[in-house]
């Protein structure tokens, strides 16, 4: 395995204007993506994911740090670096004045493919993405899912080493999302390096071999989804929605089998209800003990759920916040 992308101490500060202060979008991010890897940047909106991707793709000028794609520094050799990467942007920027097929052939021409080659590649990719019957249509007449597939086909026209996708499944219906997942997994199996940003935990869990969880412009943790979940204290997650006159955390923490209690920042839960997340080792009578402890404190449990940990739990554990759309 060899590194196809190296990001070192990346910093991006958007300069302030008269009334707005400067924004530190990325505050020292470093990671390495191996050739053939499926890598995910996970985090809430505004975490710095898109800015990081922008810096890798040369559309955002880094304030500090270094990015190397396939041995090429992207700031010093942008044109050569751009040949090796392909981008599926968050906003669908398809050329609305061309047909679906022309979107592909012109993209090939921009990358210097000879005519015969770009025509052949376009036909093959149209077939692969099941777009052949829409070849003569204008891109904006396609559904969101089809537009997304066209964006991927366009990205693959110049045979990139790394495919970067920025929140590729936003706004897609569940069916289109699943189809896109299949497509990406297929491409990955063929050896393409895939890097995607997402704020859908389930998506990162299912697709990515390694995940970097980002918040406030920094990487909080970076590992395989399984290792991240194994790193949580306790084997399972017990979520409680309750109302209590006094804090119940001390009582709960003291219970055998409960390794940690976290208060989940609640955004506007009405009537003084609070959410607690217990990291527990399942054992006989545990649930009973937890409910008793709450009741003994004069509290009232409204809702209970016991789950295997997900990446979202890792995220909440790290940030104390829930990830929201």
């Amino acid at each position: 395995m060899s590194a196809v992308l190296t990001v070192e101490d990346l910093v991006k500060v958007y300069p302030g204007r008269r009334k707005t202060p400067p924004v530190e979008a990325v505050r020292g991010i470093s990671f390495v993506v191996e050739s053939g890897e499926f890598f995910g940047l996970l985090g809430p909106n505004g975490a710095g994911k898109s800015t990081t991707l922008g810096c890798i793709t040369t559309l955002v000028r880094p304030t500090g740090g270094r990015i190397v794609v396939d041995g090429l520094d992207v700031v010093r050799h942008p044109a050569e670096a751009k040949r090796r990467i392909a981008v599926v942007p968050q906003t669908r920027n398809l050329d609305r004045d061309l047909t679906v097929r022309e979107v592909l052939t012109f993209h090939g021409a921009y990358f210097g493919l000879p005519r015969a080659e770009r025509e052949a590649r376009a036909d093959r990719l149209l077939a692969q993405m099941q777009l052949t019957d829409r070849a003569a249509a204008k891109p904006l007449t396609l559904s969101g899912g089809l537009q997304q597939r066209l964006l991927i086909a366009r990205a693959l026209m110049h045979d990139p080493k790394v495919l970067l996708l920025d929140e590729p499944t936003i706004g897609l219906d569940p069916q289109a999302r699943r189809l896109l997942w299949d497509t990406l997994q297929g491409l990955h199996r063929q050896g393409l390096t895939v890097i995607m940003t997402t704020h859908y935990m389930e998506e990162a869990d299912r697709l990515c071999q390694r995940v970097a969880i980002i918040d406030h412009g920094k990487i909080l943790t970076l590992d395989t989804p399984a290792a991240l979940k194994d790193g949580l204290p306790g084997g399972q997650i017990l979520d409680l929605l309750l109302r209590a006159p006094e804090p119940v955390e001390p009582r709960l923490t003291a219970l055998p089998g409960v390794s940690r209690v976290e208060r989940v920042a609640d955004n506007g839960d009405a009537d003084g209800e609070e959410r607690l997340r217990l990291f527990v080792d399942p054992a006989d009578g545990l649930l009973d003990r937890v409910l008793h402890a709450v009741r003994d404190a004069g509290g009232d449990v409204r809702h209970v759920s016991l789950n295997a940990p997900s990446l979202e739990d890792v995220y909440i554990h790290l940030t104390g916040k829930e990830l929201r759309d």
Binding site: P78, K82, N93, F106, Y110, F111
Partner: protein, 255 residues
Amino acid sequence: MTTFLAILRRDLLVSFRNSPLLLMATLTQPVLVVLVFGNILPRLNLVADEFRAVMVPGLMSITMLMAGVQGVLMPLAADLSGSREVDERLLAPISLPGVVAEKVVAGAIHASLAGLLALPAMIALMHRVGGLEVSPRWSVLLPMVVLSGLLSAAFGLTIGSNIQPRFSGLLFAVILGPMMLFGCAYYPWASLEVLGPVRYVFLVNPLVFMSEAMRMAVTPDIPHMPLGLLLGGLAFFGAVFGTLGARSFARRTIL
């Protein structure tokens, strides 16, 4: 260079497909002005015959300015809109100055064709009235058209990357309107001698140099600006707007 030519080919293909609309947008104004001031009013003896010959090169330059501005402004609006179509070009293996240069060249081709189409259209419309002293010197006209086209497109790039689309109505009223009225389109710069030194104030308007360039090429008998001043003006404004436009474009596209 391959990338540059491929992007240019794409722009010209799209323009060609939209050509009926583009022709209407660029030629309606000069044709109607010629119809009224070059055909109807002279027949009513309300306008001196000489005015028609003065007006032809002036309207050519106005047509080119409008076509150049539109040829850059409209695509730029789509580029910089929410969908950011420009990103596809920025992700192609071409430098940012290359992307900018392509935009200016495409706009200049647009403007040059509009100017070259407007000339015969105007001559044909005024032909019936007779006594029109228009004798284009092509060897002068073609280079002047190219220079004026480049200036128009560079101006369009500056305007387009600095003005929000929602203010484009204001652009025509506040910038392009006055430029046309004071752009020596309807009177030769030489005749402004009657205004004294004030005539030099007119030189802040790049359209003046375009009008005079067309005048020199199309109606050689009518006095025009000295060649040195004329070329200097075209080159100066072309360079200024090219630089300003490229800088603003870079600021709007690379964060």
